[in-house]
Symmetry: C2
Subunit: 127 residues, 2 copies
DNA sequence: GCTTGACCCTCTAGTTACTGGAAGGCTTAT
DNA sequence: ATAAGCCTTCCAGTAACTAGAGGGTCAAGC
């Protein structure tokens, strides 16, 4: 199938698919006219990528996951390790964001939000 | 003071300070020899920026906040609006990250993580 | 046979917010 | 005189695409 169809089936944009090909994540056959020709298996890998990216794995994580996926002999602990490291990153981001949120909530609540210039948010930023 | 001192006092790297000057966020005087010369007020603005960035405001948010900060007549509701929009973004990110975390946790728990190839994480990514 | 429109191609540049490094000037102490 | 330490500018790279220009291909309709 051509790229449009592969895009629809994988939920990746055509631009993104070409980009993934550029950086060597996937490779499609070419027809005589130069058009990319995707097999069902290609689309399968694209969907794999789409899902992994949605789960927040970096493109580089994806590259590793994909090679592990392609290697039928790999140990599941190799995959688990990547996923765990990613979970730790997520936890750290959650902590940071929660702190930001709390600080900002306090500031927003204390700000009257009216036409007067006095504003605790700016005062706090200025310390 | 020179950039090194401004960097120490503001907790921004020298590179970052020069970058902020480049994009017109701050402006320092220059000495005869070309060195930047920061006033206490300049450092104050740099600290303002550092804190706002740590709270996750984008550089563009900072540009707005800074101009509101410099305008003694502005209404506090203008500031509150930016802060609120930012809070909404944080909430959305928190939701996304929490979902990712839950999905990944289930997958990691189900993966035996041993030397055998069978791995629920990859199986799930492949659907 | 020609045109129109949908589809495909490549290539360049822009995005965000910096960071690293090269090449070179200034200042101060030894 | 020279070394160390600070300062300058400029260029390139990071992550993961996205936008857009300029141009080829293909099928349908006149």
């Amino acid at each position: 199938m051509k790229i449009r169809e592969a895009s629809l089936q994988s939920e990746l944009s055509e631009k993104t698919i070409r980009y993934y090909e550029d950086i060597g994540l996937v490779a499609a056959d070419r027809r005589e006219n130069g058009y990319r020709d995707f097999s069902a298996e290609d689309v399968h890998r694209l969907r794999f990528l789409a899902r992994a990216r949605r789960l927040g794995f970096t493109v580089d994580d994806c590259r590793q996951l994909l090679s592990l996926y392609n290697d039928k002999e790999r140990a599941s602990k190799d995959v688990k390790q990547i996923a765990k490291a990613h979970l730790d990153e997520i936890d750290q981001k959650l902590t940071e964001l929660t702190e930001m949120k709390q600080t900002l909530e306090v500031l927003v609540k204390r700000c009257s939000g009216n036409e007067r210039p006095d504003c605790p948010i700016l005062n706090d930023l200025a310390q």
